[in-house]
Symmetry: C2
Subunit: 433 residues, 2 copies
C-alpha cells in the first residue's frame, strides 16, 4: 500500500508527458488518459478516507480539490482536466446513473408512506435558508440592492441529493425511513428551488428592463404545473411504457436487451426532465423508482444479471468522475481576502442552520430527526448552477453576483458538501446509541 | 413484435421534436436522446437480421445506413446525429472495448501457435491488394499520377479486425484455429498498413515539395521499430504492471476496483498505442490478450463478477454505436454516376480478390482456408481512416484523392464490410460439412 500513491503520481507525470505527444484521434486519447487518471486518483482518495473511517465520497471530492489546486504548487499537469468540456457531460451522466441506482433501491410505496413529512421538510428547508441568506447578504454587501440579497438567499435554498444519496448508500442506510424522507424532500426541494429561481430571475429581469418588481402568477403556475406534470407522467406513463418495452424486449434473441431497455428508460426520463426545465437527475430518480426488478423476471430466467448488477459497472466508472469534477471547480486562490472568507463562513452557517429547521418537519414519531436536518445540508451542483446563473445575469450593466460573492457561494457549496458525510455518520451513530 | 419498429419510428419522431426544445445542459440532452435512439434502432436492426439467420452486426450497420440516408426521402430528423462530434469518440471507445473483449477471449499461447501462418497471411494480404488496387485505379483514373494509384492500392491493404471479430463471436467461432490466424494476421496487417501509409504519404509529400520520389530507410525503420516495440512492451511490461496493479487493488476496501483496474489496463494500452502512432484498437487487443481471468481470483473470492461480466454492460451500450456510426457515413447520393459505381465495383472486386491469396498463407493442415481468406476481407474503419487522409493530402494544389475516388473507396469499405458476415457464415457451414 505504502508506495501506491507515489506510483499514481508517477503515472500522472508520465501520462502528462505522453499527453502532449498523443496527437489527435478526435481528441479521444487525452480523455482515455484523463479518465484512467481520475478513476485511479478517486479510488486512492476514497480508500484513504475509508481507512480513516470516513465516507469514500469525501475522499473523491478532496482528490478533485487537490488536483484542481496543484497549480498553486507549480504543478500544472492536472490543469488540462478543467479544459476538457466533455468531462462535464461524462460527470453529468455519472450523477444521472447515481440517482437511477438510488431510485432502483427505493420503492414508491415507502416514499409515499413518508410523503407528508417529505413535503413539510422540503418547504421548511426552503423558506429558512432564503431568510437567513438574505440577512447575511444584507450585512456583508450593504451597498447592494435587495434583489441581490434575494438571489443569494435563493442559492442557499436547494439541497443537492447526489451527495446525501451517495453517503446514505456508503453507510448502508438507504433502507431507513429517514433516508426516504430526505430523498423525497430533496426531489420536492429541487422543484421548489427551480420555481424560486424562475421567480427571482423573472423579477430581476423585470427590474433590469425598468419594469415593476411584481411576480406574475401565470408563468409561476406554469412552472409548478410542468414540474408536477412531469413527475406524475414519469411515474404513471413511464411505468406503463417501460413494462411494455420489457415485454417486447424479452422476446428478442439478440443479447443485451435487459440493459438496453433499463438505460433507455433512465436516459429518456432524465432527458425529458431537462426538456421540462427540471434537472435531469429528477427524471433519473423517477426512472429508478418505477423500475421493479421483478419486471425483468423473463430475462433472469434466461440467465441475465439483475438490472442493478448490469448498471453497476457503468456507475462504477462514471460516478467518481462527477465527484472529482465537483472538487476540480474549487479554486483556493479565490479565498485570499479575509472579507470573502468571513462572508463565505457566514453563508455556510446560514446554509447549515437554515436546514436544521427541516427536523421539525418530520411527522413520524421515534425517528432520528437530526439525521434529516443534516441530510438536507449539501448544496452540491444545484447551488453551483444557481451561482453560475447569478454570475451571468446582468442588471444595470453589472452582474448581480460579484466575483467575491460567487467565490463565497462556491465555498458555501463545497463546505456544506464536504461536511455532510462525516456529520451524517456521526448523527446516525448517535441515533443508534 | 409486429408493431415494434413502428413504435421505434414514433419514438424517433417524438424525440426529434423534443430535441429542439431540449435547451443546453452542456449539450448532454441531445446525446442522451441520440444514444437511446441508436441503441434501440441497432437492436431492432440486429434482431431482424438475427431472425433472417444473418449476423446481427450486419443489421446494426444497415440500420446506420438507413438512418444516414433518410434525408433522401425527405425525413431529416436523423441528420443531427452526423453533426454530433463526440459520437465519434463514443464509437471509438466502443471498438476499443470490442477488441479488448476479443483479446480477453484469446490466449497468447494459441496466437503464438499460429504465429507463422498469421505473419504469412498478413504479408500476402497486403501485397496483392496494393497491386490490384493500383491496376484498377490506373484503368479508371487514366489521367492521374502514379502516386494516386499507389495511394488507392494502399487503402485496400489493411483489414479491419473489428467486423470479423464481432462476426466470429456472433457465430461462436472465436475458439477455432482459423479465428486465431485471422486475428493474429489482422494485428500484423494493421502494423504493415501503417508502415505503408507512412511510406506513401512520405513519398507524396516529398513529390509535392519538389523532392525526389525516394523512400528513406531511416523513418521507415523507425515506424516498424515503434510498432514492434509497442507490441513487445504491451505484452511484457503491460502484463507486469497489470499483475501488480491487481495485487495492490485487491487489498482496497472500496468497491469497484476489479473493473477500475481492468479498464485502466485497457484504456492505457489503447492510448499508448495511439501515442506510438498505431490504432488504439491494437493496444486494446494486446490488453485483453495479457489479462487472464485467474489474475482476479482474489476479487472473485470476495464475490466479484468476472472481468468479462463487468465489461459486458459497457460494451453492450457502446459497440452498437460504432457499427451504427459506420453505417451513417455512407451517403447513397454520392453514387449517382455510373462511372463512380463501376469504379467502386472494380475496387471492391480487387479488395476481395486481393485477400483470397491469404488462404495460401495458412501453413497448418486440415484448416478451412476459405474462412481465412474471407475473414480478411473487411476494410472497415482502417480503410476509412486511409481514405480520409488521402482526401486531405494536397499535392500541386489538389487533394490526391478526388471526391469521386473517395466515394468509390467508401463503397468498397462498406461492401467488403457488409458482405463478410454472411460469407463467413456460409464458409464456416461449408467447412463443417
Amino acid at each position: 500500500m505504502a508506495s501506491f500513491p507515489l506510483r499514481i503520481l508517477l503515472f500522472f507525470a508520465a501520462a502528462s508527458g505522453l499527453w502532449a505527444a498523443s496527437g489527435d484521434h478526435g481528441g479521444l486519447i487525452p480523455y482515455l488518459f484523463a479518465l484512467v487518471g481520475i478513476l485511479l486518483a478517486a479510488k486512492v482518495g476514497g480508500e484513504v478516507f475509508e481507512r480513516l473511517g470516513l465516507p469514500a465520497v469525501l475522499g473523491e471530492l478532496l482528490t478533485g480539490m487537490i488536483l484542481g489546486n496543484l497549480h498553486l504548487a507549480g504543478i500544472d499537469w492536472a490543469e488540462p482536466l478543467k479544459q476538457m468540456r466533455a468531462m462535464e457531460a461524462i460527470a453529468e451522466v455519472g450523477v444521472i446513473l447515481l440517482l437511477f441506482e438510488v431510485g432502483l433501491e427505493s420503492h414508491m410505496r415507502d416514499l409515499l408512506a413518508v410523503g407528508s413529512s417529505a413535503m413539510l421538510v422540503a418547504a421548511l428547508g426552503v423558506v429558512m435558508p432564503i431568510g437567513l441568506g438574505y440577512g447575511v447578504s444584507a450585512f456583508f454587501l450593504n451597498d447592494a440592492a435587495w434583489y441581490v440579497h434575494l438571489f443569494v438567499g435563493a442559492t442557499l435554498a436547494a439541497t443537492s441529493v447526489g451527495i446525501t444519496a451517495r453517503v446514505l448508500r456508503d453507510l448502508k442506510k438507504m433502507d431507513t425511513k429517514e433516508a426516504k424522507i430526505i430523498l423525497g424532500a430533496a426531489v420536492v426541494d429541487d422543484v421548489l428551488g427551480l420555481v424560486i429561481l424562475a421567480i427571482v430571475t423573472g423579477l430581476v429581469s423585470s427590474i433590469g428592463a425598468g419594469g415593476e418588481a411584481t411576480i406574475a402568477a401565470g408563468p409561476l403556475l406554469f412552472i409548478i404545473g410542468k414540474a408536477v406534470a412531469f413527475l406524475a407522467g414519469a411515474i404513471i406513463v413511464g411505468r406503463f411504457v417501460h413494462v411494455r418495452l420489457v415485454r417486447v424486449g424479452s422476446r428478442f434473441r439478440v443479447p443485451g436487451m435487459a440493459l438496453v431497455i433499463a438505460i433507455t428508460h433512465c436516459f429518456t426520463l432524465a432527458a425529458l426532465a431537462a426538456v421540462m426545465g427540471l434537472d435531469p437527475i429528477v427524471g433519473a430518480f423517477a426512472a429508478g423508482l418505477v423500475l421493479e426488478e421483478s419486471d425483468y423476471e423473463e430475462f433472469h430466467r434466461r440467465g441475465s444479471l439483475t438490472v442493478e448488477e448490469l448498471v453497476r459497472p457503468l456507475s462504477t466508472l462514471l460516478i467518481p468522475v462527477f465527484f472529482v469534477s465537483m472538487g476540480l471547480k474549487v479554486d483556493f486562490a479565490a479565498f485570499a481576502s479575509w472579507k470573502v472568507i468571513a462572508f463565505a463562513a457566514a453563508l455556510t452557517v446560514a446554509a447549515i442552520a437554515g436546514k436544521q429547521v427541516c427536523a421539525l418537519g418530520v411527522l413520524e414519531k421515534g425517528l432520528n430527526r437530526g439525521v434529516v436536518g443534516i441530510g438536507m445540508i449539501p448544496r452540491g451542483e444545484v447551488g453551483l448552477i444557481f451561482t453560475g446563473i447569478g454570475a451571468s445575469l446582468v442588471v444595470f450593466q453589472r452582474p448581480i453576483l460579484s466575483a467575491e460573492t460567487v467565490s463565497a457561494l462556491v465555498v458555501m457549496v463545497v463546505l456544506t458538501t464536504v461536511m455532510t458525510p462525516p456529520l451524517l455518520k456521526i448523527f446516525f451513530a448517535r441515533g443508534a446509541r
